[in-house]
Every structure is written in structure tokens, then in C-alpha cells.
Subunit: 211 residues, 2 copies
Amino acid sequence: MPKIVDKKAKADRIAEAAIRALRKNGYAKTRMADIAEAAGIGKGTLYEYFADKPAIVRHCFTAYFETFARGMNDAMESAPCPADKLFALLSFALAHALEWEDHCAVVIDQMSCERAEEERAFLTGVYDGMKALIADILSQGQEDGSLDPGFSPETMAALFVSLYDGVILQRLLQEKPLDAAGLSSALSRLLRQGILAEKQDAKQKKGGAPC
Amino acid sequence: MPKIVDKKAKADRIAEAAIRALRKNGYAKTRMADIAEAAGIGKGTLYEYFADKPAIVRHCFTAYFETFARGMNDAMESAPCPADKLFALLSFALAHALEWEDHCAVVIDQMSCERAEEERAFLTGVYDGMKALIADILSQGQEDGSLDPGFSPETMAALFVSLYDGVILQRLLQEKPLDAAGLSSALSRLLRQGILAEKQDAKQKKGGAPC
DNA sequence: TTATTATGACCGACAGGTCGGTCATAATAA
DNA sequence: TTATTATGACCGACCTGTCGGTCATAATAA
């Protein structure tokens, strides 16, 4: 009888518009009216699809974190040895950040601005998982002898995660786009010549596959 | 006549209280009343010393950026060769971040939350200067042969700055304190075995001074 | 010494404005 | 007609910055 709308799909569309608005001005400065306008609907309609402002952000994040988690898993499984796993992870993370640029920005914004304990805990969990994953790979590499045994896997993992965040943060501050290829190759060089236990003396510049 | 107060000194004291309050809840969620309370003065008095909320933040930043700039200069001049300069810079930056932890947090908060063009431009300038400085050192190192010529100084500098930001950001998200020593040594390892042109084959673990 | 006066420091009530969320009503499709 | 969806005027909580007035102390003069 009534006009039936696909609530789920429409919520997705609204969230898509919301993320653009949030990216533009940050969570605190983005009003519900802005989001509604961006989505091309009335302010009241927003509340047909979301309970409140935080709910919109949460909805925005689900797809982002889902693809991230899945991609990280895929990247890990696609590589045979720890060192390659690590490279795959880092390069996927960078590519993902590039693809989901707006979402990244809003996540960072939430990290530093939003002090709600619930949100903090969620983000902390995501990061802890990421660190644990990387630390685990590093450990494996140290055990099988492909990685330098002289560093702490946890600390080095924290360093990588920090680097990832920092790149996004810099991207957020500066308007000019990310030089993903350049950063990736610089990082790769740093890693390949830095953390591999055995260096190929002469042909070190274009080191082949570490496995 | 009335007791004459040292306005400048009092403004400093207020700013000191303000930075604690800002650190705790973030710029957007910190009310002027909170700052006044933290400083132990009335809300109206606040406006005797600062024009508005942004003015307080600006005042907070001046000392922070001054000490940072001076420290970076000192660190640079204290080291004889490019590689050592770089290590000195990075380790000073980390130490400074630790010492000015609250300020760092507020700066990061501003970077991601505050969209006022003026503030952005200022922060962008600071970061550009930092990147240029590091890129310059890297270039010198490449020219004098002490650093691997195979990377782009600008990109690598961007990577370092990002890393610095990321470390602070992670510190901000997680409540547990920064393991400065661990991070520093991990980074040092990464650098020493990563960007130096000549690797000391056997005794690579505890590489001596690069000069 | 002491009463008087001048003035900067201080304050909190309040005006003005913003923004998240609600609700009565309109529009729409079955 | 009726169930569902859409809407923007509206409300109230909250927050920033202002303003009139009070207070403590220094300067002054008797």
C-alpha cells in the first residue's frame, strides 16, 4: 500500500553524502542540517534513518572498516612469507587509505576530537588489532630468519602503524593529494634495506623478492 | 590605586591551565568556562587577557613552537655531518614531543578539527619548513656520499614528518604513555640500516657513528 | 596616620546565537 | 482511505562573548 523505500540503501546513500560533509568541515563543525542538505533531504528525514549524529558516523565507518579488515586479510594470505606479507599489508593499507580518503579523514578527526569513551574504545581496538597482526608477522619473520632479529616486533609494529596514521594526518592538513607511489617506494626502500637480516651486498638497490 | 598585575605573566599562567583543559577534552568540547575554572578565575576575567577562544590557543602555541624551532636549530648545529644531523633532529623532535605532550595533543587536535584557514596556513607552514629542513639535510648526505643516493629527499622527509605526527597521534588515542626510548631505538635501527649508503657487513647490529 | 578618592582587576548574570533533536502536518503510493 | 515517508518550523539546551557593577589597593591630602 504505502510507498516502500529501501531503508537500508537510502541510509547508505545518506551516509555517503554525510562523509563528504564531515570530511569537509570536521565532526564538530558539521551540522545535521549540512548533512541533510548534502544528502538532498530534509533535516527531519535524517532522523528516520539514524537515531542521532554519532549513529551516522558509526554507519559511515562500518563499510570502511569492513573493507579494510577484509583487504588486510586478503593481503596477508596472498603472500607466502612474512616479509612479503608485511609489504603486502603496508601497501594495501596505503592504497585503501587513498581509496577511502574521506573516511580516513573523518576517522582521524574522531580520534583526536571525539572523546566519547565508546568511540575511543572501538578505534583503540582496531589499532591494537592492526599492531598485533603486524607484530605477529614480524615475529614470524624473525623466527624463520628472514627478518633481522634485533628489534622488538611490538615496537616496530607501533612504528609502522604510527607511520600510516601520520601519512593520513599530513594528507588531511595539506590540501595537495598524496603521492602514494612515491611514499610507497620510499617506505619499501626503508624496509627492504632496513629490516631484512641479509642484505644482498652489491645489487641492493633493486632487491628482488625476499623469499 | 589597585594592585597592578603582570598581565603578560598572568596570560601565560592562564594559557598553561588552558592547555591542560584543552588536552583533556579537545578544542571543540572545551568551554571558556572550563578554561576559566582550570585557571581559577572568573569567566569574564578570561576576556581581560584574551580576545576569544582562538586567541588562547594561539598564545599556547607560541612558546611551544618557539622552543621547537630553537631546539631543531640547536640539534642541527650540534652535529657535524648530515647523517648525525638527521638523527639529532629526529631524536630532539621525539624528546620535545614528550616534554610538550599536552601542547602536541592540542596541535594535532587543531590540525584535524580546526578548519579556519588562518590556523591551517600557520601549521602548514611549520610542517613545510620542517620537511624542507630534513630534505635539505638528506640531499647534503646524498651529495657527500654518506647517504644512499637512491631515494627522493623530499619524499623521505615527508615520510619522517608523517612518522613524527603518527607517533603523537597514537599517543593521543591511547592513554598509555609513549615508549620514547623503544621507539627511538627502533627508528634509529630502521634509519641506520636503511638509509646509509655503506653498510658495515658483519657488525651491523650496533653500528657506530656514521661519520 | 587616616579619610578620601581613583582605578585597574575581577566577576557572573545575561543577551544573542547555534545546533541537535522533535513533532504536527503534508505528500505519496497502494 | 490508509499506511508510510518526508518535511521544516519549532523548542530547549548550551555556549560564547559582553557589560554593569563590586572590590581591593594605591595615591593623595588633611
